[in-house]
């Protein structure tokens, strides 16, 4: 007799068989409804149902739910089962609840009570059921109810092993779902010591728990590093017979190894030499074992072994300090690239992506270029090909760019539709980033449009135009190439757009050649005109009018085109307007005026390529790679002005950020395309009112008091005091008029998500402010969690100015509350600073900006400003005395956010590089934006 089959419930078995015998969906539904009615009446009427019957009906309900029918009753019966003292009934009650009950159910109070009783139970299996239920639901109510009991249960000496094991995971689940409810790390050292427990199951669960807790309280859990290393070393050096049960297909405790290796990735490489030596020994041991002959032919054996290996490689990459290991790791992965297991090829490509960003192993990765390109060509599985594309993108540098781009272009012709758009972006970015020669760049992009025109987004073709406009040396070549491209019989509309724009600007550069004489150019473009959408036609009309200026000899032909009915009387207003205006312009204006209006476009302002932004939006992990790459290897950014091109004034930051998109939009003529500029627009969120002090409120980032707003009627001043996550803002309202303010009402508003993140409480005020007096108002703030918007105060009142007419004053002001106001300065030595700096090495934790200095670079002023923002300005920390570094902890109610700031001035270029690293991604980004405005 099988262990579990046991004695089933007859009614249940019959019911399931009935369902399975149903010939049609309708019959099935009918049978289900009949059963539901039956159960409902049983639950309602028959008060004498015994535990067995309840259990049976609950099982039936579960089965019905599984088939995809909603269950809206039986919850109460399930909850009743919880208080049964029979294990089986309790068990089924818990099962029903964890499958069917929502976190915000009305019954939650009853459930929590039942769980509490079971947690107290002397019977460990009951305790375990309760723990399972808590972690399956994991709601906030649960966290609040049990956050204090669980750690005690976990570290108590009386708790038996398997309960400890569950308790650790249960705590982990609650911590993940509601991190703020967890008590401070009181039990840290005892929890850490669970890593030494003799029961491997307990150690595995504890490792998971510590992995999460140490992210939040790295210092309190520091002790886990050495314990984890010694545990790991005992496992790795153990022969597989030592661990008996936890050996899985001849691999000793693979899951635990993986967990420990993950845990170690939360910390920088150990500083203690003996720990470090031991860890390196482990890692080497794991790499060595990978070379050994397999102890079993089973796939499970190699899976388990490789799970450990991949995690070890991840740790090696994280440490990024052992060139020897990095290269070995890379060779190992290289061997996997041609392994017959698809899973291994997939994972190897993925891990290599990370290796490619380390300076030590970048070269080693490049050795496998051929294999990787090959897998792009031959791999049958699209997920693997996708990884190969990612890796090629990550490993690309100046030396191999042309080859990689060429391969990616070839692949693009046959690539899966799902990844084409992303590939187009990647090719475009690589081509721009590593272009030694802009003719190559133009070739690549045009080829891109030819091969995958449909997937070439606006950003891509905008970008090629920007580059051509900005670089004189490539203009002639570009004109020639687009002209040739347009001559092909099939030509994508995007090509027509690029061609139209470029010929309109630079067509004159190739007009000397008889084969591309003005009229030929025009006729070529015009032959595509009728096949294009309205938007493109508008663009072409602009090209034509530019031709009027460039080639006066064909003006009459062009005027004819403007004059045709389908242009002059086109139902599309934009097209019609262009035709009409261009026609009269070409007729009326003198050649001089025409030349001025239709002058060549000025160079576009340089900034980070919008392509990168788009790719990041598309795939967040790319951003990580990107910033890792920037930090570690200072790869050239996608701003081509850097490599000292022929055009001197490429960097022109005085241009408004809009200009590039705006200029193109203007040409293109369709207002809807302005969407491309969204990532340039300021962070003014929609729906927020017009704020009177929005231009200068940012000065309060580094100031505690000052005048928020002043006009001839009223002066609003403020004074801020903060402690930890609390802030008290004193607001001063001065009446500057000769008459009192009435209905005086300042209202604090925290827009959107801010209302949760930041609690504001304003003291009520008198509704009257007498003439010539000042009143004070206190506003208290509690920073609940990190925020990135600014609270607003709405000040409204009525007053009578000298003119005599009663007037209503109503303005919105930003309050000087920014996340940095909750900084606690932290003193650090150079060593600790850089250790922390490294520990915050996850790319998303870093935010960096390079910007032009708005004020003269003067170290005393910068000092004052940095001190003003609230973090501790650390002297003698950065090896370069020119640089400024700050450290601090941002206090919020839910957590403390360690934050480091580094500001590197470049006096020659009058630029700064600002880097903010923080344990919360959102904070580093917001802070970076805030601070960049200050200098």
């Amino acid at each position: 007799m099988p262990a579990v089959k046991g004695d089933g419930m007859r009614g249940l078995a019959v019911f399931i068989s009935d369902i399975r015998n149903c010939k049609s969906k309708e019959a099935e539904l009918k049978r289900i409804n009949k059963e539901l009615a039956n159960i409902r009446s049983k639950f309602k009427g028959d008060k004498t149902l015994d535990g067995y019957q309840k259990k049976k009906y609950v099982c039936k309900l579960l089965f019905i739910f599984l088939l995809g029918n909603d269950i809206d009753f039986g919850h109460m019966e399930a909850v009743n089962l919880l208080s049964s003292n029979k294990y089986t009934e309790k068990q089924i009650g818990y099962l029903f609840i964890s499958v069917l009950i929502e976190a915000n159910s009305d019954l939650m109070k009853l459930i929590v009570q039942a769980i509490r009783n079971d947690l107290m139970s002397r019977n460990p299996v009951h305790v375990n059921l309760a723990l399972q239920c808590i972690s399956n639901i994991g709601s906030r109510d649960m966290a609040e109810a049990f956050a204090n009991d669980l750690p005690k249960l976990l570290v108590s000496g009386d708790t038996i092993d398997f309960v400890k094991q569950s308790a650790a995971l249960c705590l982990l689940k609650l911590f993940r779902n509601s991190p703020d409810v967890m008590p401070s790390p009181d039990h840290a050292s005892r929890i850490v010591h669970l890593l030494n427990d003799s029961h491997m199951g307990v150690v595995t669960s504890a490792a998971s728990l510590i992995e999460a807790l140490s992210k939040r309280w790295p210092d309190d859990y520091k002790g886990c590093v050495s314990l984890a290393i010694s545990r790991l070393s005992r496992i790795v050096t153990a022969t597989y017979t030592d661990l008996q049960d936890y050996t899985y297909y001849f691999v000793p405790a693979p899951w635990l190894c993986v967990k420990l290796l993950r845990l170690l990735q939360n910390y920088p490489p150990p500083e203690d030499p003996s720990n470090k030596a031991r860890l390196l020994e482990c890692l080497e041991g794991i790499l060595n074992k990978a070379q050994d002959a397999p102890k079993s032919k089973k796939v499970q054996h190699s899976n388990a072994k490789n799970a450990v290996l991949f995690e070890a490689i991840a740790l090696i990459i994280h440490m990024d300090s052992e060139p020897n290991l990095l290269v070995r790791a890379c060779n190992q992965l290289g061997a996997f690239l041609s392994h017959r297991e698809t899973n291994l090829r997939y994972l190897a490509l993925e891990s290599m992506c990370l290796l490619a960003t380390s300076e030590f192993s970048h070269e080693a990765v490049k050795k496998h270029q051929e294999t990787i390109i090959n897998s792009l060509k031959t791999e049958r599985d699209v997920s693997v090909r996708q990884r190969a594309v990612d890796l090629l993108y990550a490993m690309c540098d100046r030396t191999n760019a042309s080859e990689i781009v060429a391969e990616m272009l070839t692949y693009l012709e046959t690539a899966d539709y799902s990844i084409r758009e992303e590939m187009v972006l990647k090719v475009a970015i690589l081509a721009e980033k590593y272009a030694n020669d802009y003719t190559w760049y133009v070739d690549v992009i045009l080829k891109l449009i030819r091969i995958a025109g449909d997937y070439v987004s606006e950003e891509v073709w905008y970008r090629v135009i920007q580059i051509v406009v900005n670089r004189e040396d490539v203009q002639g070549y570009a004109a020639k190439t687009v002209f040739e491209a347009l001559q092909r019989p099939a030509c994508h509309e995007n090509m027509v757009k690029v061609g139209g724009y470029i010929l309109g600007e630079f067509g004159n550069l190739i007009a000397g050649d008889q084969r591309s004489a003005p009229q030929v150019q025009f006729e070529l473009l015009h032959s595509k005109y009728h096949l294009c959408s309205i938007g493109t036609r508008c663009l072409l009309l602009t090209t034509y009018v530019k031709f009027c200026n460039l080639f006066p000899e064909i003006k009459h032909i062009i005027q004819e085109v403007f004059r045709t009915d389908h242009n002059l009387k086109n139902p599309d207003a934009e097209l019609q307007q262009r035709a009409v205006e261009y026609l009269s312009m070409s007729k009326v204006a003198t050649p001089d005026v025409l030349a001025t209006i239709l002058e060549e476009m000025p160079p576009f302002a340089e900034k980070e390529s919008s392509l990168l932004a788009k790719l990041k939006k598309h795939k967040p992990q790319v951003e990580e790679l990107e910033s890792v790459a920037q930090e570690k290897k200072s790869r050239p950014q996608a701003v081509m002005a850097q490599d000292g091109g022929a055009v001197g004034s490429l960097v022109d930051l005085d241009h408004s950020a809009h200009s590039e998109a705006a200029a193109l939009v203007d040409i293109f003529g369709s207002p809807s395309t302005t969407t491309t500029s969204t990532n340039n627009t300021a962070t003014q969120p929609t729906g927020e009112p017009v704020v009177a002090n929005k231009d200068d409120y940012s000065k309060f980032v580094s100031k505690l008091n000052g005048v928020l707003y002043e006009d001839e009627t009223v002066q609003v001043g403020c004074k801020l005091e903060t402690r930890n996550n609390l802030a008290r803002l004193g607001m001063f309202y001065g009446n500057k008029t000769q008459t009192p303010f009435t209905d005086f009402k300042p209202v604090v508003v925290c827009p959107g998500a801010l209302s949760v993140q930041l609690q504001a409480q304003a003291k009520p005020m008198d509704a009257v402010v007498a003439a010539g007096t000042q009143v004070q108002q206190l506003i208290n703030f509690v920073c609940v969690q990190e925020f990135n918007r600014t609270p607003i105060i709405q000040v409204s009142f009525n007053y009578t100015p000298t003119s005599g007419q009663s007037t209503h004053f109503d303005k919105f002001l930003y309050l000087p509350i920014f996340i940095n106001k909750f900084f606690e300065p932290t003193e650090m030595t150079s060593e600790t600073f850089f250790a922390r700096w490294k520990a915050l090495g996850i790319p998303s934790q870093e935010s960096q900006r390079i910007f032009i200095a708005k004020h003269p670079i003067d170290s005393t002023q910068v000092n004052a400003k940095l001190t003003g923002i609230g973090a501790k300005l650390l002297s003698d920390v950065d090896p370069n005395p020119e640089n400024f570094v700050c450290a601090g902890i941002i206090h919020t109610q839910t957590q403390q956010i360690g934050t480091l700031i580094r500001l590197e001035p470049n006096k020659q270029a009058k630029k700064y590089r600002l880097t903010v690293r923080s344990s919360k991604d959102a904070v580093s980004k917001y802070l970076c934006d805030l601070l960049a405005d200050l200098f």
């Binding site: 004695d7 993986v258 599985d381 997920s383």
Partner: protein, 192 residues
């Protein structure tokens, strides 16, 4: 962390659904349908990891799945889990089922939903890997069995007596049921 565990057959009929985050009935069924679409069209020898699946998670989530005879076992996990580790966890789960049900087949999962949930509960708790050691898991399940037997022995006697009379020939009945042909899962050891 594991966000969901789905088991469905080759036709997309769910056999076990366990979500570690609340989804409404409708969403659950939609997730099953979508996941089925994704995995069912993949060959057996392509890789076992899959991105996509818009309903659960998003970018950080992956589907890690195995296909045994008539059933797909799918774990939806985030990046904090080792891919190969989870792949092996699926194997442990299936081997455990196989031990408990002796040559487990799809029918066992259908008729013993509760048991399967209990077994899974010993492996995965609230979306986290609880125990990976099969003998430990089996030990716990045996303990449960023992408790169940004890309780059934003492108090369920009357009820069971009644049901015994009602269905004298139950084993035969079940065998007589017409069921679609379901190859056993027992050959999973050479499934790869």
């Amino acid at each position: 962390m594991i966000k969901a565990i789905l088991v469905f057959n080759n036709h997309g009929k769910p056999r076990l659904l366990k979500f570690y985050q609340h989804y409404s009935e409708e969403q659950q069924q939609q997730i099953v349908r979508e996941t089925f679409q994704l995995v069912s069209k993949r060959d057996d020898n392509v890789c076992n990891f899959l991105e996509g699946g818009t309903l659960i998670g998003g970018n950080d989530y992956r589907l890690i799945y195995r296909h045994y005879a008539t059933l797909y076992f799918i774990f939806c996990v985030d990046s904090s889990e080792s891919e190969l580790g989870i792949l092996d966890l699926i194997q442990v789960f299936v081997e455990t089922l196989d031990r408990c049900f002796e040559n487990v087949c799809e029918l066992d999962l259908i008729f013993h939903v509760d048991k399967v949930h209990h077994i899974l509960g010993e492996l995965v708790m609230g979306g986290m890997v609880l125990e990976t050691n099969m003998s430990e898991i089996l030990l716990r399940i045996q303990e449960q069995e023992k408790l169940e037997k004890q309780e059934a022995g003492i108090s369920a006697a009357p009820a069971r007596a009644v049901s015994a009379v009602k269905s004298m020939n139950l084993p035969q009945q079940i065998k007589d049921l017409k069921l679609p042909d379901l190859p056993g899962l027992s050959n999973l050891k050479n499934a790869f």
